[in-house]
């Protein structure tokens, strides 16, 4: 599979300051936002590790797709969002759902198929949704949610609400037709939607480079929609925050959509079933060095934030997680009656009189 050289890629790298030792804590991001992002990243990391454990205790059935290693993207974007903004994500969406402030207990309960789960046990791991929090759903068939997110943005535009729709998807998703339709559509209608491609280098078990005609699956396609090519370090919450903020502002100001490609890596396999043996030797180790959690801890430290403040946040997250896990475990299975509810808006499922 010869990789073609990228010819004159329509490229404009995002003009945002990259954090460095010389930056100050109270720069354009500031301490409060950074501590928020720290907490969000920890919530996701610990929750997903817990989910992993519950899986191997056979307390979660079916499948699950962890995003361990990719937390900075969800967290950096969430820190930009207004409470009424919309998130659309994929089966690999526990992170994106959590960072909108969705209850851990309900997420874990849903993963365990409990009646007190977020979806009453009807949706499961791949469909986490909390409409009240703006978490508009996790979509498990590749590509579909890109035009759907555009639709939510259309509503915001039509009713002039100033809301923005964020839409997260993987590198592999850039090769399906719905990607193309959604991008073109969003641009010509100038919709307030921010498309975020989380490039974790793999489409399931296949390296993305083997199945993609360009080097940067999203950024190298931006020009095909008259959009800027934006690449960001997806393991750096601050960097993600800055590009997401610029994109959200542009969208809110009527400037239309953006397409962001965030480079990252998932530490675990594609799904529960995948030991990820297809990875070249040493690749994981390289990326573990770029693990966003220790890196962000280090950054906070360098900014002079006390170890206690940093650790207290982590301790609080862990305490919440333990309580949530217990509560989820203690949940009852869904009632048999619930099988036949909520097909229709009247709460039922009748198809005849």
């Amino acid at each position: 599979m010869a990789k073609r050289p990228v010819k004159k890629r329509a490229s404009k790298s995002a003009k945002v300051p990259t954090p460095s030792a010389t930056a100050t804590l109270n720069d354009d991001i500031g301490e409060e936002k950074r501590l928020e992002m720290w907490r969000l990243q920890l919530e996701v990391r610990h929750m997903e590790q817990r989910l992993h454990d519950l899986f191997f205790q056979n307390l979660i059935k079916g499948t699950s797709h962890l995003a361990i290693g990719q937390e900075a993207i969800a967290s950096g974007c969430a820190a930009v969002m207004r409470p009424d903004d919309y998130t659309f994500c994929t089966y690999r969406g526990h992170a994106h759902t959590k960072v909108r402030g969705v209850s851990m207990e309900k997420i874990i309960g849903e993963m365990m198929g409990k009646g007190n789960g977020l979806l009453g046990g009807k949706g499961g791991s791949m469909h986490l949704t909390d409409v009240d929090k703006g978490a508009m759903g996790s979509y498990a068939i590749i590509g579909a949610h890109l035009p759907i997110a555009a639709g939510a943005a259309w509503k915001a535009q039509y009713l002039k609400t100033g809301q923005v729709a964020f839409c997260f998807f993987g590198d592999g998703t850039t090769n399906i037709g719905a990607f193309h339709e959604a991008l073109n559509f969003a641009v010509i209608w100038e919709l307030p939607v921010v498309f975020v491609c989380e490039n974790n280098l793999y489409m399931e078990y296949t390296p993305i480079s083997e199945v993609t005609a360009v080097e940067h699956p999203a950024a190298d396609r931006a020009g095909a929609y008259g959009l800027d090519s934006i690449i960001v370090d997806g393991n750096d919450a601050d960097a993600v925050y800055r590009v997401a903020r610029a994109a959200a502002e542009k969208a809110r100001n009527g400037g239309g959509p953006s397409l962001i490609e965030a480079k990252t890596y998932r530490h675990s396999g594609h799904s529960r079933a995948d030991p990820a043996t297809y990875r070249p030797d040493g690749e994981l180790e390289e990326w573990l060095k770029k693990d966003p959690i220790p890196a962000y801890r280090q950054r906070l430290k360098e900014f002079g934030i006390s170890k206690k403040v940093i650790d207290d946040i982590e301790d609080a997250v862990l305490a919440e997680l333990d309580a949530a896990t217990e509560a989820a475990k203690n949940g009852a299975p869904p009632s048999e009656d619930s099988l036949m509810t909520e097909v229709w808006a009247d709460g039922g499922s009748s198809w005849r009189n």
Partner: protein, 325 residues
Amino acid sequence: MAELTYREAVAAGIAQEMERDETVVFLGEDIAKAGGVFKATVGLYDKFGPDRVRDTPISEQAILGAAMGAAMTGLRPIAEIMFSDFLAVCWDIVSNQIAKSRYMTDGQVSMPLVIRTANGGGARFGAQHSQSVENWSMMIPGLKVVAPSSPADVKGLLAAAIRDPDPVMFFEQKSLYATKGEVPDGEHVEEMGKARVVRDGDDVTIVALAAMVPRAVEAADRLQAEEGISASVVDLRSLVPLDTTTIFNEVGKTGRLVTVEENPRLCGWGAEVSSIVAEERFWDLDMPILRITTPHIPLPSSEELEDIALPSVARIFETVRNEVD
């Protein structure tokens, strides 16, 4: 009462609802400035403007995805898929996303939208522009399915579909666009999920849908005139919800059931109706349940072939005559 064509009734139904509800918006290919390739949406763009009546690219997944996203967040979109055959290019959005999201989220997500589409044969357009695919939708849990046979029903059921809080697949039969009928003046809304006995009879019940309704009525008239057979004709109007009450009443009365479908044979709606009756009203039946369908073939384009493929008045007449005495 005013006389409207079936196509004019489409625009009338949409206009009625757009006037009363600001959240009703409409999108599709060539539906705005051009008024639709079947001229069924003429005038809406001028009346409601470019923010509410919007032309799109050839991007059916984007059209229905946008409709879904807007419906989930507060609008009541109407989306046109030009020919129902093209539902195949956006079937994921219909069958996996729109139909299932409410259930998968345990009722968190609402989906008040309508997908209008031109269905059926008779226009010599060939196999990719002539299918009757209402059964594709009927088989997907979570979709309501409506297919009117008259201008009055077009307007009234389209209004009902737009007001309905669930996703409705609205099948306009191409071969009926030019037909005319009386439509009530003023606001007109029908109830979805009710069949209509369009011709009363005692000997046999013919259940039909959309373009097959006028054919069934004509066949029934001939059966009466030429054979003295008294046939009821039921216009189903809606496949989901399905009015089994009316069907059961009819079967109880006549003891004989014939379905007339424009779709090809296998797994058509007639199969479902037949199986329901064979299960729940078996003991009322005095004869086998007959199904008249397009044969299980792609539709040919030439006039002569298409005409013998689709269920005709003659075929309905002969099938019923041969079985009922």
